[in-house]
Symmetry: C2
Subunit: 160 residues, 2 copies
């Protein structure tokens, strides 16, 4: 399967990755969640070539995850901000953060926290997997199941 | 910042992505969560070149996310299975699935569900962001904050 076809598959994980799964996209979103708005700030934070950043930002705007808006201090220049659709990616970023903290140790202290804008208190992600029978399901009892969708029964896209 | 340096940053999100953020890695893990073990099954599902798949699987093994084990039906051949560290990536995959379902619609019906292995009932992800003051924080009140770590105060890695 080609990357460009992923957005059409019946797998929502593949569709999500087709939009935000390119290298740098989720780190751009991390910075946007931190309040970064200006192109130059993204570039300084990420240290990536301007054309790569331009391309990633354009794709995120095209898919309605970021939008362009006039910067307060300078009405002529545009900045980027998360849309409501973009903000709903926070669980993805938060889950990556949690796993990275636990499983990819570093000698540098963790420098990324989530706070409640209203009072500055730290925020942690609590995640619960709940079955339709109402019970909490531990990670090792979860299975991801792929069913074949109607439109893709005869194609190699069926499992994706 | 170069990709190879991401694993050393003080940002746990960047470190997590340095391990699982390459194209296809999270889709390989999706299939592993579904029980796929054999190289050929991964390849059929993903439709990617053998050398790309080999490289991604090797990296996931190297980082302790998958391990190789003899396949039951044929003791000589090896398959891949999620380690406990790998299983803890389920929240990332589940959060991508949830967002893809909600925000990247397709004419194909969703083909990926999570079930409780014990009784086959469907499982949904419930996510709660809770502050140290004990209250649930809505998405639009969350800010991700980067602090400068000691070791990287003078480098461009500080914000990542």
């Amino acid at each position: 399967m080609k990357r460009k076809n992923l957005i059409k598959t019946n797998c929502p994980i593949a569709r999500a990755l087709s939009v935000v799964g390119e290298w740098w996209s989720l780190l751009i979103l991390r910075d946007a969640f931190g309040g970064t708005q200006r192109f130059e700030e993204f570039q300084e934070s990420l240290g990536i070539p301007r054309n790569t950043l331009t391309e990633r930002l354009s794709k995120l705007v095209e898919h309605g995850i970021l939008d362009k808006h006039p910067l307060k201090e300078d009405g002529k220049r545009l900045g980027y901000a998360l849309t409501p659709k973009g903000k709903e990616l926070l669980p993805v970023v938060a889950a990556l953060r949690q796993w990275g903290n636990q499983h990819v140790p570093t000698s540098n202290p963790s420098a990324v926290t989530m706070i409640d804008r209203r009072d500055g208190s730290r925020v942690e992600l609590r995640l619960e997997l709940v079955s339709t029978k109402g019970r909490t399901v531990p990670l090792d009892k979860i299975q991801i199941v792929s069913r074949r969708g109607r439109k893709s029964e005869s194609s190699s896209e069926a499992r994706s």
